[in-house]
C-alpha cells in the first residue's frame, strides 16, 4: 500500500490534536507515515503518540538546521523525503505555516495543492467551504502527488494500532532556504482553555461586550469551550488578535458557536458560518447574526450570559 506522509504538528515534541485527525484521514488514502521535524531526542516520544493513530512509520528529521528559519527549510526537507518515498499524498495542517509549506512544496514537486480542506475522501476528493461558507466545493489534485492542507476538526481522530517505527532521515538544507531568520519566538501563553480552531464549543464576544469579556469567559468555562472574538473587539484592543474569528482571523467550525454582542458582518461570518449549531445573544433584533442562528436571544448579554452560566453550572451539578 502506498504511504501517505503526514507532517506532525507539535509544540516541543507534544503532538497536537489536528495531527491525529490527519492520520485518521491518511488511513483512507494509504498507509500513514508521520514526519517529525524537530529535535532528534523528541522523535521517540512523538512516535509513541502518533502510532496510536495508525502511523506505521515515523520519519525523524533533525531540525538543527531548520528551526531557525521560516518555512523554506521544512519545504525542502519534505521535498527530499517525498522524492525518496513517492507517497500517495502529503497531508499538512491548514495553518498559516502549513499552507506556506504546501505552496512551496507544490512548486518543488510539480504537484497540485489544495488548502483548507474540511474533508478528504478515499479517492482524494476534498471538500472546502468557500465564499464565507455560502458554497461547498469538491476538488481533486490532478497532477503529481496531492498536497492537501487540512483544517482542524475535519475528522474525528480514530485510534488504530500502528507500528510507529522511527526512521531517521538526513536532509540537506540549502543556503537559499536559510535567508528568512526567526530572530525571536515567543510561544503563545496557554489559556487553560481549548485551542480555538480545535474546540468543540466556542463562545465569542464582540462590540456588545463593551470591553468586558468576563461574561463570555465564564460561559466558555461553564461549557468547556474556547473563547473567541469579533474583529471589532480586537480592533478596540479588548482582546488579542489571536482570538479573532473571521476572514482575517481564525476560521472555526465547532459543534456549538455562541455569538455575544456580535452583529454578524460578512467578514465575521466567513470565520464561523459552518458551525453545526449557532446561537446568538444581541440587544439588536435586526442584527444580521440572527439570520444564521438556530437559537437567538434578543437581550443584554451582561444579564443574559451570567444567568445562563449560573444555570448551566447548576445543571452540571
Amino acid at each position: 500500500m502506498s504511504e501517505v506522509l503526514v507532517l506532525i504538528d507539535h509544540a516541543e515534541g507534544a503532538v497536537r490534536k489536528p495531527t491525529y485527525e490527519l492520520l485518521t484521514i491518511a488511513r483512507r488514502l494509504g498507509e500513514p507515515s508521520a514526519v517529525f521535524i524537530g529535535p532528534a531526542d523528541q522523535a521517540a516520544g512523538a512516535a509513541e503518540s502518533v502510532k496510536k493513530y495508525g502511523a506505521q512509520k515515523v520519519y525523524a528529521i533533525d531540525d538543527s538546521e531548520i528551526k531557525g528559519y521560516l518555512v523554506a527549510p521544512k519545504a525542502e526537507a519534505l521535498q527530499q523525503l517525498a522524492e525518496k518515498t513517492s507517497p500517495a499524498a502529503v497531508l499538512v495542517t491548514s495553518s498559516f505555516e502549513g499552507k506556506e509549506i504546501a505552496g512551496r512544496l507544490a512548486i518543488k514537486l510539480g504537484s497540485g495543492l489544495i488548502t483548507d480542506a474540511v474533508d478528504v475522501a478515499e479517492d482524494g476528493t476534498t471538500t472546502q467551504s468557500v465564499f464565507a461558507g455560502n458554497y461547498t466545493v469538491q476538488a481533486k489534485v490532478t497532477k503529481g502527488t496531492p498536497i492537501i492542507a487540512v483544517k482542524p476538526n475535519a475528522a474525528a481522530p480514530e485510534e488504530a494500532d500502528g507500528a510507529g517505527t522511527v526512521e531517521e532521515v538526513a536532509v540537506t538544507i540549502s543556503d537559499s532556504a536559510k535567508k528568512a531568520q526567526i530572530v525571536a519566538s515567543q510561544p503563545r501563553q496557554a489559556t487553560g482553555r481549548p485551542e480555538l480552531t480545535e474546540a468543540a464549543i466556542v463562545v465569542a464576544g464582540g462590540r456588545g461586550t463593551g470591553g468586558d469579556f468576563t461574561p463570555v469567559e465564564n460561559l466558555a468555562d461553564a461549557l468547556g469551550g474556547a473563547v473567541g472574538a469579533s474583529r471589532a473587539a480586537v480592533d478596540s484592543g479588548w482582546i488579542p488578535h489571536t482570538f479573532q474569528i473571521g476572514q482575517t482571523g481564525k476560521t472555526v467550525s465547532p459543534q456549538l458557536y455562541v455569538a455575544n454582542g456580535i452583529s454578524g458582518a460578512i467578514q465575521h461570518r466567513a470565520g464561523m458560518q459552518t458551525s453545526k449549531t449557532i446561537v446568538a445573544v444581541n440587544k439588536d433584533e435586526e442584527a444580521p447574526i440572527f439570520e444564521l442562528v438556530d437559537f437567538g436571544v434578543v437581550g443584554d448579554l451582561t444579564t443574559v450570559l451570567p444567568a445562563v452560566t449560573e444555570e448551566v453550572n447548576k445543571r452540571k451539578g
Binding site: A72, G103, A106, A180, V281, V304
Partner: protein, 264 residues
C-alpha cells in the same frame, strides 16, 4: 529601488459571489474591486517608500494579473499613491490555479526588473489560500518574510512581527525579499482627491503572456494541477427560534435549547 505590490481584482465579498458552469469563479456577473486585504499591502509599500532615505529613488509599482477589468484594482493602487501600474491580462490565464498565477506574477516581476521588494496581502478574499507570497519566494528564490503585523525597515534589512499559529515570532531578512502583510499592519489610506486626479497621468502598462515569455499552455483552466469537480450552494439555514429576553426568560430558554441539543 523598485517595490512591486501584488494586487488582486476580486468579486465584492458583500455581493452574491458564485461560480460559473465550468466551476470557475464568476468574475463577470459580480462587481469586482481591489481585494480589501491587498489595500494593506499597498499601504505598507507606500510607507516603506516614505520612510526610505531617499523616497524619490523608490518606485512603487502595482501589479495585477486578471481579466481586463482588473485594471480597476491597479488604478485604485495608483490612486492610493503607487507610482506605476502593470496589468497582465490574457484570455489564456482564465481559470488558473495558484501555481500558474504565481508563475505569471513571478515572470512579471522579472520583466519589471530591479525589484528589491515584493509586497503582498495575507490572502485574497476570494481564493483565500495564503500561498502566493510563499510561492513567489520559491519561484524568485527570495527570502519569504510573511504575515507581518508590524514591519520595520532599515537600509536593506527588513524585520517583522509575525503572529504565527503557536508563537509570536520576529523574522528578519535582507533585501531583495518577498513580504506579506496582514490586516493588523495598519489602516490603509483612502485615496485623496488629489491622488485620484494624479493617478490618471501615472504610467500603466498592460502585458500579455507573450510579453512575459510565458507559454499559454502553462496556465489556465485546462492545465491546472487541481480540478474543481463540484460546487454547491449551501442550503440556507432554516430560520431558528428567536426569543426576547424578559426578566430572565431569555436565559432560561437558551439553557433549555442547549440541553435539548445535549450541550449540557
Amino acid at each position: 529601488m523598485n517595490i512591486v505590490v501584488c494586487v488582486k481584482y476580486v468579486p465584492d465579498a458583500t455581493a452574491d459571489r458564485r461560480f460559473e458552469s465550468d466551476n470557475t469563479v464568476d468574475r463577470d456577473g459580480v462587481d469586482g474591486l481591489l481585494s480589501e486585504l491587498d489595500e494593506y499591502a499597498v499601504e505598507q509599500a507606500l510607507q516603506i517608500k516614505e520612510k526610505a532615505d531617499s523616497p524619490d529613488d523608490v518606485k512603487v509599482i502595482a501589479l495585477s494579473v486578471g481579466p481586463e477589468k482588473a485594471v480597476d484594482a491597479v488604478r485604485k493602487a495608483l490612486q492610493m499613491g503607487a507610482d506605476e501600474g502593470v496589468l497582465v491580462t490574457d484570455e489564456a490565464v482564465a481559470g488558473s490555479d495558484s501555481v500558474a498565477t504565481s508563475l505569471v506574477l513571478a515572470k512579471a516581476v522579472e520583466k519589471i526588473g530591479s525589484v528589491d521588494l515584493v509586497v503582498c496581502g495575507m490572502a485574497s478574499t476570494d481564493g483565500a489560500m495564503s500561498v502566493i507570497p510563499a510561492m513567489l519566494a520559491e519561484r524568485l528564490d527570495l527570502p519569504q518574510v510573511t504575515l507581518a503585523s508590524v514591519i520595520e525597515t532599515q537600509g536593506d534589512q527588513v524585520r517583522i512581527k509575525r503572529d504565527g499559529d503557536v508563537a509570536t515570532e520576529v523574522i528578519g531578512g535582507t533585501l531583495p525579499l518577498v513580504l506579506s502583510v496582514t490586516d493588523q499592519s495598519g489602516e490603509a489610506r483612502y485615496p485623496s482627491f488629489k491622488g485620484i486626479m494624479a493617478a490618471k497621468k501615472k504610467p500603466l502598462e498592460t502585458y500579455s503572456l507573450g510579453d512575459l515569455g510565458v507559454d499559454a499552455g502553462e496556465v489556465g483552466l485546462s492545465v491546472a494541477w487541481t480540478e474543481v469537480t463540484e460546487t454547491n450552494e449551501r442550503p440556507p439555514r432554516t430560520a431558528g427560534e428567536i426569543v426576547k429576553d424578559e426578566d430572565g426568560s431569555g436565559a432560561t430558554a437558551l439553557v433549555d435549547f442547549l440541553a435539548s441539543k445535549k450541550f449540557i
